[in-house]
């Protein structure tokens, strides 16, 4: 990966609240950032490991609910006269727990992935998210059901000179999301250019060949799903403590679809893909807001996605590289050259 470009990008993003301090803008960027983190996590599973997982909202939601519940404390009767009671925990601890718990669910899904493949796996992942949604709707003792959970405490940070500060301002939230986002990006970047990452990519490219050189399928599928789920859980946790209200709608298929559009339109299996896709589809609703109804927005989303899939099936980032290659040498076949460039992208 291109460290210089990355550093510049991060620097610009970090300075953004000073350059453009409008709280509405920062809040939009913060939300988009959370979705981008979710998209980055999905890209590991869908893009790099080649698993058609369409239940990613489930991990997002599990992360959000776990973090919220741990930070608020809960008290439920789980039958047989047993009560499960947890006191409110500090937000950072709740957040960390959420990541671990979501990672565990990722492991479960990963284990299942080995048994079923292709289209059947897709259906199972979707079902998983639906079941989660129904549980959060109906287990009202734990989750408050359709009313959702409110008054979720925010993150707090100890600042020298200021003491313990609640991160509630739009700028603070923005920086928090940016930090987690950069960490997530780096994690994935380091992973995909390592031996473990190569194994995951090999599973996507040609599983039969991969096993013949000793790459164990279940282990790496499970690993990819755990990491992917954990990062999605982190995004969910961020959501819970920044928006501070969550309800069962976080499990809706529509959110999974949004993440999928971001990854696919941006370019699955590329580092920049989910970021670009996330920026476009995260900011599009804001740009369209006020001018068109949400239904129309979604029609535009859908049409955009179809058009990209029909004409630029590898996504915008690879298409961009195609374009650059074409400019440099109009005679050559741009796709071949850009594929070559992208194939070496993961060399760090």
């Amino acid at each position: 990966m291109n460290w210089k470009l990355f550093a510049i990008f991060v620097l610009v993003l970090g300075l953004l609240p000073f350059l453009w301090p409008d709280p509405y803008f920062l809040s939009v960027m913060g939300s988009a950032g959370i979705m981008i983190i979710a998209a980055i996590s999905l890209n590991l599973l869908l893009g790099y490991t080649g698993q058609l997982s369409l239940g990613h909202a489930a991990f997002f939601g599990i992360g959000a609910y776990t973090s919220a519940l741990m930070s608020l404390g809960f008290d439920v009767d789980i039958g047989f006269g047993i009560t499960w009671q947890v006191d409110a925990k500090p937000v950072w601890l709740a957040f960390a727990t959420a990541i671990v718990v979501t990672g565990f669910f990722g492991w479960l899904v990963g284990k299942l992935a080995f048994k079923v493949r292709g289209a059947y796996f897709v259906v199972i992942t979707i079902s998983f998210a639906q079941v989660m949604r129904m549980i959060s709707l109906n287990w009202t003792d734990l989750t408050e059901g359709p009313m959702g959970m409110i008054s979720i405490p925010p993150f707090s940070l100890w600042i020298p000179g200021e003491g313990l500060m609640n991160l509630t301002s739009k700028a603070a939230i923005y920086w928090l999301v940016l930090t987690v986002g950069v960490l997530a990006y780096l994690l994935i970047a380091m992973l995909v250019s390592s031996r473990q990452g190569r194994a995951m990519i090999a599973l996507r490219e040609n599983e039969t060949l991969a096993t013949s050189v000793g790459i164990p399928v279940t282990y790496f599928l499970a690993l990819a799903t755990i990491i992917s789920a954990a990062i999605a859980g982190a995004a969910g946790g961020l959501y819970a403590h920044t928006v501070r209200i969550i309800d069962p709608d976080v499990f809706l298929f529509i959110y999974t679809v949004t993440m999928v559009i971001m990854v696919v339109a941006g370019g699955k299996g590329t580092l920049g893909g989910p970021v670009i896709g996330g920026l476009i589809f995260g900011l599009m609703p804001e740009m369209l807001r006020g001018t068109v109804q949400p239904e129309v927005q979604w029609v535009i989303y859908g049409i955009t996605m179809i058009v990209i899939l029909l004409f630029l099936p590898r996504g915008l980032v690879p298409a961009f590289y195609d374009f650059i290659a074409w400019i440099r040498s109009p005679g050559a076949i741009p796709e071949r050259e850009s594929r070559r460039v992208l194939a070496t992208e993961v060399k760090s």
């Binding site: 994690l187 380091m190 992973l191 390592s194 031996r195 473990q196 990452g197 190569r198 194994a199 990519i201 090999a202 490219e205 040609n206 039969t208 060949l209 991969a210 096993t211 013949s212 050189v213 000793g214 790459i215 164990p216 399928v217 690993l223 071949r336 594929r339 070559r340 194939a343 070496t344 993961v346």
Partner: protein
């Protein structure tokens, strides 16, 4: 180029099949197949189309558990084990079709194939700790060595799918070699190669054999088979019909009859 050196084992067999039978959808693809591969030899598995050679490979390398019978690797029962675990035990196979990672560069194809040679843990990889860095350097150096051995150095940055057919076959063998096999199963590696490419291939197989790796070869090119093999096993309709040194096989009436009229290529 140093490949894994194998301690010569005179008494025991590297690979044995015992009464392996494979029934697929009502057809008997392999019928009570028994043969042994001694260490350090180059053995060819031949037979007319449909004789069951690739099925035998699939059973041996773990892609298909046999209906009955046993497969032993260095006296250890590996029947029905998963392919990746058989690979860690020293048996690696190549494939007739889809033998490379199309969208990866040649370099990355081989780097991926060196998976078993790496030991760095996930944490070491993610944090780029010294052990990881040192290991990556070492693995990459070995990739360059392998590229030289395969004479594909000039293609290192090309996408594997853009290589010529012959180059892809060679890369496929390289990928299998990277997994450090003690016994290598090649599935028609020379198919579709022109005569000069075939000669280079023969030389490569001899080099591999010389370095101590046992080689099992499925091939249709009889000239190559006769000139390169220490021993030949002949399959027909799922059964072993002959086994022996090339001269014996050449004159074996059952073998000749099996091949009669099936267009054997004699160079």
């Amino acid at each position: 180029m140093t490949l894994a050196k194998q301690t010569p084992e005179t008494a025991s067999m590297v690979l044995s099949l015992e009464a392996v039978t494979m029934k697929i959808a009502g057809l008997v693809a392999l019928d009570n197949v028994t043969f042994n591969i001694p260490a350090g030899e180059i053995v060819s598995l031949i037979g007319p189309n449909g004789a069951g050679k690739t099925t035998a490979y699939n059973v041996i390398s773990g892609y298909m558990p046999p209906t009955s019978g046993k497969v032993r690797l260095f006296d250890e029962d590996i029947t029905g084990h998963a392919p990746h675990s058989i690979a860690t035990r020293g048996l690696v196979r190549s494939f007739q079709r889809t033998s490379v990672f199309d969208d990866q560069t040649v370099f990355d194809n081989l780097l991926t194939a060196y998976h078993l040679q790496g030991r760095a843990s996930l944490v070491q990889s993610l944090l780029r700790l010294p052990k990881f860095r040192a290991e990556e350097k070492q693995l990459k150096a070995r990739v360059w060595e392998m590229l030289d051995f395969l004479e594909l150095r000039h293609r290192a940055d090309e996408r594997a799918a853009s290589l010529s057919y012959g180059e892809q076959r060679i890369l496929g063998v390289g990928i299998a070699l990277a997994a450090n096999p003690k016994i290598l199963l090649l599935d028609e590696p020379a198919a579709g190669l022109n005569p000069s490419e075939t000669d280079e291939f023969k030389a490569m197989i001899r080099r591999i054999g010389d370095s101590g790796v046992t080689v099992l070869l499925v091939e249709h090119d009889m000239h190559m088979v006769m000139s390169i093999s220490d021993r030949i096993v002949v399959l027909n309709q799922g059964r072993v019909i002959a086994e022996g040194i090339p001269q014996e096989i050449q004159n074996n009436p059952a073998v000749i009859e099996a091949y009669l009229g099936s267009g054997v290529k004699r160079a």
